[in-house]
Symmetry: C2
Subunit: 446 residues, 2 copies
């Protein structure tokens, strides 16, 4: 008889994992706290659109969903920077043709659930809120619709129940479980730029828009229907902060001063501002992710990251791929499979968590800074001129499947290379291979 | 009518706090999960004896218990280091007469509870396990003896319920609560050296004994009845670790090799080793400690530290003093009182947590190292020769009430001073004030 796997959390990571496990022939139960989003489209209490990039696409490819998802995606080839005076500056993300893709979280989740539902060996359970887990006995107890409690047994449990995971809470009370939850002093609020007449995009369509203002910023991602989901990221407290925006006139004045070119595009700004919640941004780290061969965590449940590198979903999908591969390599030794998985993923999850936090400063502050822009231009040229020898950290994170930890380390080396080139005023000689290649290679050896 | 304060956790911090609050005229309820330890002497699941030093003594003085406690205490004036070959080396902790004091955790707790019980405005509740807290409404729900549930209302709640506090767990689910629990790879096991005939101390009585062995160590603290509580600190995994000691012969061989001079003094070693648990060592950090003016945390509930600086209780008692002082300064503005308290204590709690972790390396590894011993000797002489200008970090932490953060910072400066003196071979000229005083003062300015 096939082993039973209970997957707790039917978001992006959980629904993808259910498909991978079904493909391996296991008997899969997938439990989701919310109602079936295919019937009533509801917000997951999370951001509306996400940036899908190479790692995520590779995972979708393995379950045959990549092409379908990409049909509905909007490629964003770079950042469009909006200054306070309405000037616009464009920074490409990668080489010609490289883009991150704005996709709808809801639609992606629905497509994954539909694919999962087509497997005979996957059973979907909605409105099932996990309230207890007995790791040793493989039992998970849920509060079902209407308040009844139901316990399901299994051979293995995977917790994909997000940043505030019930499965992880259960691990937290086991001995020697390291855990941290750490909030940024910055919160966020979603706003909207609606389409013009005939679903017209009111700004550049194929770009991620940023209004960098130092300690705070607004960003906007395009949606297929012609609208943009805007997000204002700003400190909770301080001079320019959510705590200072009490009245409609506070908000109006603030937006008029800071984002004058956006205001005419945001007719429902004041209503949206006071209707939509101000949410917080948490980084969660823990270890071990696994408890013997009985239970493991994946996705946000194992490592919630802040959204500033656009890698949350991509990282979670990569978890699923690595977990699936480890099970493939070591089954039926679940202990070994879960242990190899966590050992491989933990340093990479830590790296992307760090990079995401650091990227807030880059997006909110540096992208508007001349010295930084110059450095980015030199970096971009090096990427184009030396594609085999020089790869930017952004490129490695976003357009490759090199482990995040390696991308992080490479970023430090790149900083040395760029500092050397700029210090020695070599910007006009970047094409001189005999001069530049040794700089790239030697710094890489340091 | 007096405001009602519910204190959850009747350990050392909670019982001391109840007395301070009663003195201020509040109506105090003190809830303790365990039975009344005055009736049945039970272990708190924690170490048997503790090192009471200046900060803790100052707190006890304020409630008039210091002299009574010190009657039963054993002063330890320094460390007695036991080498593998049985050689003994003595390092004084401070100047002539300065000592840390071995006291019984149980006895100290009982004396605090008895004092609390004498106050008409304190009600003690035992066998009351906190299972829920409603912060906004000031409600705390307990599972009482026999399993009945009872809810108590109050104006303010203070959580003094230890490293695994239920009160803190409630805060953990509030937005923007930063939290971490981090385990050392090292565990511990308590063992015993019984008294000789006529309650004779079988080793030096007035010292803390250490058997430093690099990655692991044993320590022993004297008890008034002539016995020593020994603690073996050792990694859970690895070459020399708990995971390698399976059989009686494993344990016997290990102790014979590592602690040959202690073995003859430990007749029940093998029985104790397999009967007593192997416990883990956690550092807990969180912030904020307070939720408005309704609830705050103190002691291990706010900041569990590892035991290697002997400051856990002293730090908790200092929390209570500062909290009491802030309430005195700002009452009836509880919001302000709790906020000032947490702002004052948080950096100091973080500092002692760091220092305690660092002290494991010092105790297990460095105290047996010649270079370190030389440095300590120079430091000790500077303390004696320049009492107004040079204070060691250990002295500041243990024999003063200078904030822990300041003591930590001063330790870094002292390292520079000592490095300078040793690098310049000034050890023989320490008494030369014209030469040495500028070194002390200038490094202090850096």
């Amino acid at each position: 008889m096939a082993e039973k796997i209970n997957i707790i959390g039917g978001g992006l990571a959980g629904s993808l994992l259910s498909i991978c496990m079904a493909k391996r022939g296991f008997e899969v139960n997938l439990f989701e706290r919310r109602p079936d989003m295919r019937k009533n489209r509801i917000s997951a209490g999370k951001s509306i659109n996400l940036a899908l990039s190479t790692r995520g696409l590779k995972a979708l490819e393995q379950v045959g969903l990549d092409k379908e998802i990409m049909k509905e995606a909007i490629p964003m080839y770079g950042r469009t920077i909006h200054s306070r005076t309405g000037e616009i500056n464009y920074q490409p993300y990668g080489k010609e043709g490289q883009a991150i893709n704005s996709v709808s979280r809801g639609l992606l989740n629905i497509q994954l659930l539909e694919l999962a539902d087509a497997y005979e060996n996957i059973t979907l359970h909605f409105n099932a809120k996990c309230i207890d887990v007995n790791i040793e006995q493989g039992l998970a107890t849920f509060e079902m619709e209407g308040g009844t409690k139901k316990t399901f047994s299994s051979d293995r449990i995977v917790g994909t129940d997000g940043a505030f995971a019930a499965t992880r809470a259960r691990l937290q009370s086991t001995d020697r479980f390291n855990y941290s939850q750490s909030y940024l002093p910055v919160g966020y609020k979603e706003l909207i730029i609606p389409p013009g007449q005939g679903a017209k995009f009111m700004m550049e369509k194929n770009a991620l828009h940023i209004w960098p203002r130092g300690a705070f910023m607004m960003i906007a991602l395009p949606n297929p229907s012609g609208d943009y989901t805007c997000t204002l990221f700003m400190p909770f407290e301080g001079e320019k902060s959510f705590s200072k925006l009490h009245t409609e006139s506070d908000v109006k004045q603030f937006f008029d001063e800071e984002f004058p070119d956006a205001v005419p595009l945001m007719p429902s700004l004041l209503k949206d501002f006071f209707t939509n919640p101000t949410s917080s941004l948490v980084t969660v780290r823990c270890y071990p992710w696994s408890n013997g061969g009985r239970l493991t965590l994946a996705g946000d449940a194992a490592h919630a990251v802040v959204p500033f590198f656009g890698q949350g979903m991509n990282c979670s999908f990569e978890d699923v791929m690595v977990l699936d591969e480890c099970i493939g390599n070591y089954y039926p030794n679940w202990n070994k499979a879960f242990d190899e998985y966590q050992k491989q993923r933990k340093p990479n999850a830590d790296a992307i968590a760090d990079l995401a936090i650091a990227n807030y400063t880059e997006m909110a502050e540096k992208v508007g800074d001349k010295v930084f822009l110059h450095k980015k231009q030199v970096e971009h040229k090096l990427c184009e001129l030396y594609p085999n020898d020089f790869k930017s950290q952004y490129e490695l994170v976003t357009f490759s499947t090199v482990p995040y930890k390696q991308a992080q380390d490479r970023g430090l080396v790149n900083d040395l290379i760029l500092a050397y080139i700029i210090d020695h005023k070599l910007e006009e000689q970047l094409h001189n291979r005999e001069l530049i290649l040794p700089v790239i290679k030697n710094k890489g050896m340091m």
